[in-house]
């Protein structure tokens, strides 16, 4: 496999989704050079996704590698009608991280980190520049949620908080958290489809 030229980091996040869609097409056809370019232009976004959920560096590196192997295998499944290429890739990475953090462990189901608090760099997508219409719509709908409920959804999404972790964070029973999540998610869908 050949490696592509190093892509300057500054261009990474800004890599146009159109370019990524073309790269994914070439990767689906088995183009190793396109895969290398795809990796170089998306690695930091995908690492940002997994590292915020897994927090342990070795686990994050492992999840990142598994995610890209899967992206190589599944590139042909990407459907531009259903989302952006970067969103599709980031979802694959996020699922790898979630599978790891929610793995049924033979030793302990309670092995979730205790006292798991959001780090200082908690993501605030409301401040993020809307890169796509879909993100703009989602941000608008998130903005319509109560502040606590919005934070709960974002902590779950970005930090991989479980219901338990959210219950600790908000000092509420897990049943209440479940109700929050249910209402918030249904409200989000209604808003997105309106």
């Amino acid at each position: 496999m050949s490696t592509a030229e190093e892509t300057p980091k500054a261009t990474e996040a800004a890599a146009a989704n159109d370019d990524l869609a073309l790269l994914l097409q070439r990767v689906a056809a088995g183009d190793a050079a396109a895969f290398a370019t795809l990796y170089r232009s998306t690695q930091s976004v995908l690492y940002g996704v997994v590292a915020r959920i897994l927090t342990r560096g070795d686990a994050s590196g492992e999840a990142l590698q598994e995610a890209y192997v899967r992206i190589w295998e599944k590139a042909g499944d990407f459907d531009p009608a259903k989302g952006s290429p970067l969103g599709w890739m980031a979802t694959i990475a996020r699922n790898r991280a979630l599978d790891e953090v929610r793995r049924v462990r033979p030793t302990s189901l309670e092995a979730m980190p205790q006292g798991f608090e959001p780090a200082a760099d908690t993501v605030d997508p409301l401040a993020a520049r809307a890169r796509s219409e879909r993100l703009a719509a989602l941000i608008a709908c998130l903005g319509a949620l109560d502040a606590d409920k919005r934070e709960a959804v974002l902590l779950a999404y970005y930090r991989g908080f479980s219901r338990e972790a959210l219950a600790r964070k908000f000092g509420a029973p897990t049943a209440t958290i479940k109700t929050w999540l249910r209402r918030s998610l249904m409200q989000l869908r209604e808003c997105l489809e309106s």
């Binding site: 990142l64 590698q65 969103g87 049924v104």
Partner: protein, 237 residues
């Protein structure tokens, strides 16, 4: 949409990531044989995916590209024909087991936890989610095949006053269900109880839990229908 509101919410929570480990494993197994549920999860993932895209980048601590390329090459180097043959063999064994247990499944309207058919490496660690309905896991059984070890962890099994839960292994070649012993509704039960069985039997078997008189079935046979049932899913290659 014919998905029930609870399943729809479970799909949403799967995409959001807030399901507990047992629930997540159970739903991951269900989506492989329930296309509507799978579609609902994908739709929720797509709805939320702009957030992932907006994640502030963090440069990885190392260049993982060579390692990723090596993994891809290793996967490509394993002869595809062998993989297909191995998959077909596993699939036919799974079908045989499913047919054998069909009556049981129908009686309980149970969905089986299908094995992840895409893994062709020999997994060592398996779990079975033992459940009554697909979204209510009661026990999680973990099996280490290399060591022949079994541990059963209660998730939400209601304690039975004066009665005991007993675990059974059911597989066509074994004939009648074979007891794996009493399991505890309140604590983890461990024991090297699988060493006596073939690997293929352990992998393909259906695991079922019955409620028995305190101390277990008096005659070594289940005295009633299973209350929880499940099949193994590999968790580690």
């Amino acid at each position: 949409m014919t998905l029930s509101p609870d399943d729809d919410f479970a799909a949403a929570e799967f995409a959001l990531g807030t399901l507990e480990p047992g629930e997540r494993a159970a739903l991951a197994a269900r989506r492989r044989r329930e296309p509507e549920l799978d579609a609902a999860i994908r739709a929720w993932e797509a709805r939320l995916s702009p957030l992932a895209e907006a994640t502030p980048p963090i440069p990885p601590p190392a260049d993982f590209l060579p390692a990723i390329e090596a993994r891809i090459r290793a996967a490509a180097a394993s002869p595809a024909s062998n993989d297909v043959a191995a998959l077909q063999k596993r699939l036919s064994r799974w079908r045989a087991a499913a047919v054998g247990a069909a009556g049981l499944a129908a009686a309980l309207a149970i969905g089986f936890v299908a094995r992840e058919a895409t893994r062709v490496a020999q997994p060592k660690e398996f779990v079975a989610i033992l459940q009554k309905s697909a979204d209510s896991p009661a026990f999680v059984a973990s099996i280490n095949l290399a060591k022949g070890e079994l541990s059963v962890r209660p998730v939400a099994a209601p304690p039975q006053a004066g009665r005991s839960y007993e675990l059974w292994i059911i597989e066509p070649t074994l004939g009648a269900p074979r007891s794996l012993g009493i399991i505890d509704a309140a604590a983890v039960t461990r024991g090297p109880r699988l060493a006596a069985f073939d690997r293929a039997v352990v992998e393909d078997a259906t695991y079922a839990v019955t409620v028995e008189p305190e101390g277990g079935s008096p005659d070594g046979k289940p005295s009633g229908p299973p209350v929880f049932v499940g099949k193994l899913v590999p968790v580690e290659p």
